[in-house]
């Protein structure tokens, strides 16, 4: 069995055991339901959005919410609702991609550091901790300076910003698990280090990492919006919640809906992610294991 099959299998077992239980409470149903809805909206945006998100109509600029523009139009007469819907695509995909990269790299580094220890561990942890000491915006600026503004820079900036968290958490799990009797028993049966690490340690370490990943997607959305707000992220006409709010500041008093609706979208999404994450922590019963990472 190769690594990807193993990952799929762990995820599958994880899903069967716990995601269901996270939906057991009222909060879990509402928050989880909203997130599922949001993902569907992002996927099917072209069919759901009533207008082309980039179509300008200067004659109908800054129209207030009503019919046919339910959430009004911006300074170029573009439909705010359509832009918020397509903005969900940008926010979710950028954040999820960045966190996936961050998780993959962090788990690899953290697991190797925790398992092999010694000088290697110290080197990895020093570098990783260094990335944590730079403000996220500064990291983003470095990428913008290298590859120019856009979603790629944003993705890498978010990935680096959360790398330390995943590395430290995975390392802490592995260091703790490594001392367990069943790992010693596996060594006694003649298992190779790779077998122990991939087949026994990682599956047992993955649950808290996935939950932190879930919560980090919420933070990633905020960071993406922040970078977009400063013009470092999505470039026009790509709709991004942060960039929309940025352009909305100019007409804050003239047409407040341009800034309010993307702002509400960010806020509600992040709250839903956090509430669902909390339900996951409760369902997995891993509150203790998230400490000290």
């Amino acid at each position: 069995m190769n690594v990807s099959q193993m990952a799929i299998r762990s995820l599958d077992a994880f899903a069967r055991m716990s995601i269901g239980r996270a939906f057991a409470s009222g909060i879990g149903i509402v928050a989880g339901g909203f997130l599922i809805l949001l993902v569907l909206v992002a996927i099917f945006a072209p069919w759901i959005a009533p207008f082309d998100y980039a179509a300008q109509n200067l004659l109908n600029a800054n129209a207030s919410p009503g019919w046919p523009h339910l959430l009004g139009t911006d300074e170029f007469g573009r439909d705010v609702l359509s832009r918020v819907i397509f903005g969900a695509r940008t926010s979710l995909s950028v954040s999820a991609t960045a966190i996936a990269i961050s998780m993959a790299a962090g788990m690899t580094l953290g697991a190797a550091a925790g398992y092999f220890g010694g000088v290697f561990e110290r080197a990895v942890m020093t570098v990783v901790d260094l990335t944590w000491s730079f403000p996220d915006i500064l990291i983003a600026l470095i990428f913008v300076a290298i590859i120019g503004p856009g979603l790629t820079s944003t993705t890498f900036a978010i990935a680096i910003a959360y790398l330390a968290q995943f590395t430290r958490l995975t390392r802490a799990q592995i260091v703790r698990l490594k001392r367990e009797t069943f790992i010693e028993a596996t060594i006694n049966l003649g298992a190779k280090p790779s077998h122990i690490l991939l087949r026994h340690l990682m599956p047992n370490a993955i649950a808290p990492v996935i939950v932190v990943g879930m919560l980090a997607i919420g933070d990633g959305i905020v960071l993406e919006a922040t970078l977009g707000f400063f013009g470092l992220g999505a470039q026009p006409p790509t709709p991004s919640w942060g960039a929309m709010m940025s352009s909305g500041t100019a007409q804050l008093f003239l047409s407040p809906w341009v800034i309010i609706f993307p702002g509400v979208a960010v806020a509600v999404t992040v709250i839903a992610v956090n509430l669902f994450g909390d339900e996951l922590i409760r369902a997995l019963d891993i509150r203790d294991r998230l400490r000290g990472a």
């Binding site: 049966l189 003649g190 047992n204």
Partner: protein
């Protein structure tokens, strides 16, 4: 089959184990007895080559298995022995199984690794072994997770894993400590049967003299990281010559006579950093004399057995 000669182990400057010798052949059971902290488990870890893992090293002696000295064996070759030729049953079955893997795949892994079997062959073998360990409905058990089973059942699974690659030597490190008394007897009987059926060499590490009396052919009594007495089990029980062995035997509860009191040995095993000079047992020994505090005793051999006591010649005449 397995022969340990004059084994010494050190962690940095401290030497918790020295001068340990024993040997065991096919179809034979040797008991290693002693209180907690006497170096029994450390002996097992040395044989399994696990000392580097806990920061220890072998300072002297040899561990010869099947004609090769394991103290000089590189890690890669050692991995083939562990679980393959030498099986280890650990102290605590409750935590010896991976909580996230079903029983079947966990046991299968051993045969797949050491015997190069494919998934189906390994599963057939797993079910066969579970059957010989008197586990009802092996196929059903294979589909269970460890938390769904009782302690005695888990210990059988751990034994099954140790047996899966058909080893020549089995080391059982206090296999019954964590179990109920009734289950303890079952497990001990099971091990005893396995030795006979499979012609195994069994090293049974325990602190329970009554278990030794029931199952072992030979016994090594350990105290403070040293072997203090060894020999055939009948000889040791008939004529224990070391005061420590005598005390251990006196601790076996017997009969239903409610006037009898449970006996113990005063004091505790010294910690590694303050092993006493001379005979390590002298501070707790009822018959210690001046010489015991200064000169380490040598083995006094009598037939197949030997005791490291200055007064071994006279000791058995008047049991403590």
């Amino acid at each position: 089959m397995l022969s340990v000669r004059d084994l010494g182990v050190a962690f940095g400057a401290v030497e918790p184990l020295s001068g340990v010798s024993f040997s065991v052949d096919k179809g034979e059971t040797i008991g290693i007895v002693g209180e907690s902290g006497s170096g029994k488990s450390l002996t097992a870890m040395s044989v399994m080559g696990l000392l580097p893992l806990i920061g220890g090293r072998i300072t002297g002696g040899t561990i010869v298995f099947d004609g090769q000295d394991l103290t000089k064996l590189p890690e890669r070759a050692y991995r083939k022995l562990r679980g393959g030729k030498i099986g280890l049953i650990t102290q605590n079955p409750m935590t010896s199984l991976d909580p996230l893997k079903k029983i079947g795949p966990q046991v299968d892994d051993v045969a797949r690794l050491h015997l190069g079997m494919n998934a189906n062959e390994a599963r057939a073998r797993t079910e066969e072994i579970l059957g010989t360990l008197r586990i009802p409905e092996p196929a059903l058990i294979c589909d269970r997770y460890p938390h769904q089973m009782s302690g005695g059942m888990k210990q059988r699974i751990v034994i099954a894993m140790a047996l899966a690659a058909d080893p020549d030597v089995l080391i059982a490190d206090e296999p019954t400590t964590a179990l109920d008394v009734t289950v303890q007897a079952q497990i001990i009987r099971l091990l005893d049967d396995l030795v006979k059926q499979r012609d195994l060499a069994l090293v049974l590490i325990t602190h329970d003299m009554s278990v030794v009396a029931q199952t072992c052919d030979k016994v090594v009594v350990m105290y403070a990281g040293r072997a203090v007495e060894y020999g055939p089990v009948e000889a040791i029980f008939d004529r224990p010559r070391h005061p420590y062995t005598q005390a251990l035997i006196a601790c076996i509860p017997r009969g239903l006579d409610d006037t009898a009191r449970l006996t113990g040995i005063e004091g505790t095993v010294p910690t590694v950093i303050n092993y006493p000079k001379g005979c390590p047992f002298h501070p707790r020994c009822p018959r210690a004399e001046a010489i015991c505090a200064t000169d380490p005793p040598t083995f006094s051999v009598e037939g197949d057995s030997a005791a490291a006591c200055h007064f071994a010649e006279v000791a058995h005449a008047q049991p403590a």
